[in-house]
Symmetry: C2
Subunit: 231 residues, 2 copies
């Protein structure tokens, strides 16, 4: 929407993080921030509806991107794949500013108020995914239930990978971590493995398993078999 981003907004974010890092979030007042940034107190709240918002300056934009990504088409793809790709949009935002993301992670880990705020943001992502899946699953038995569960699983997997990357101070491969986690979810929920069922392969898969084998091994085996067939 806003084409030119006001430099004042960035100045406020920079000033805020400087202070947050050197004396802590709760020990920093909004007055401190605006004084350091050299602007009026009222202007802070023009750009950020609350003190917490300055810690997550780009989530609103990212949420809009995700909503748009899910809104425009994509119905020819597998729904689970689609929401996984949507989740990767969030990762991309984090990965664009690794040092910033790591600093923010350390902040949110320490400050309960920021954790809570982050939860509300994550919840909105999850709702966006769930709403999309509900549309795709409309009519199926337990459609909304499936949608909610898959959305929650995708978000949990994404966060698992993301946090693992953040804990490594941005040293590990963020995409690899999240891809691995999302693949796990996709393996659990995707009906059929391949992107498009190949036409010239056998129509039947036979699985032989020892009784009592863990289900995840069974699923893994089915996946592997299907993958081999579609090669």
């Amino acid at each position: 929407m806003t084409v030119a981003k006001p430099p004042m907004r960035d100045a406020l974010v920079a000033a805020a993080f400087r202070l947050f890092l050197e004396r802590g979030y709760e020990q920093t007042t909004v007055d401190d921030i605006v004084t350091l940034a050299g602007v009026g107190r009222r202007s802070f709240f023009r750009y950020f509806p609350s003190k917490e918002d300055v810690v997550f300056p780009d989530h609103e934009r990212c949420l809009a991107d995700m909503t748009e990504f899910l809104a425009r088409g994509g119905d020819e793809h597998d729904p689970v794949t689609r929401v996984c790709d949507a989740a990767r949009l969030v990762l991309r935002m984090y990965a664009e500013n690794p040092t910033f993301s790591v600093q923010r992670y350390r902040l949110t880990k320490k400050v309960p108020g920021l954790r809570t705020y982050e939860l509300s943001v994550v919840w909105r992502y999850e709702r966006a995914l769930a709403e999309y899946l509900r549309r795709r699953f409309a009519g199926r038995p337990d459609g909304t239930l499936r949608a909610d569960v898959i959305a929650a699983a995708v978000v949990a997997a994404h966060n698992n990978g993301l946090r693992s990357w953040l804990r490594s101070d941005g040293e590990s491969d963020a995409s690899a971590e999240v891809d691995h986690a999302l693949a796990h979810v996709q393996r659990t929920f995707t009906p059929g493995a391949g992107p498009e069922p190949a036409q010239d392969v056998e129509d039947v898969v036979v699985l032989v398993s020892r009784r009592g084998a863990p289900m995840w091994r069974v699923v893994q085996e089915i996946e592997a078999t299907l993958d081999r067939r579609t090669d």
Copy 2:
């Protein structure tokens, strides 16, 4: 912990809800509440660390119950079953006061601040489940990932059933709703169906499936087969 519950706490909750319902949450100040309850302002914050807490007076207790439930044993049961049972503890708390729960549901639906607060509470439940599963899955490949995903799925399913019940104004069968939702999750994640693998049944299961069949159907079929075998 606290054996005798102070009547003052209940008086504050009652006064708060009367005012919240007749003029709204944000239109009610803490001073209004303490005036109606006939106590000092300071006493309110002695019992509730924040204004939001008065809306969820029993969650702290319930969270402690769940933590204790997961802490003491239960390791002979299937982990997924165990966390599903833990989730049912929360449902029980809601079901104990249906009218109160429905009123609170309507409040949290309208007031964003309360939604956020509720999220932080739900998050703590989810973390309790995830920590338990992480212990149970310790050593397995992707143990923490599986733990996080399953915990998220269980919470999502529980909330799906719970909300469905709350939207019915407490008229429907809460347990049935949640049981159905949790069964869905259990079907997705449980390694093997029966409680204990019987010793005198066949050691091998053969599944024949059409290529491209939805994974949930495949899993369902495996489950059904295993159930038949353990009868």
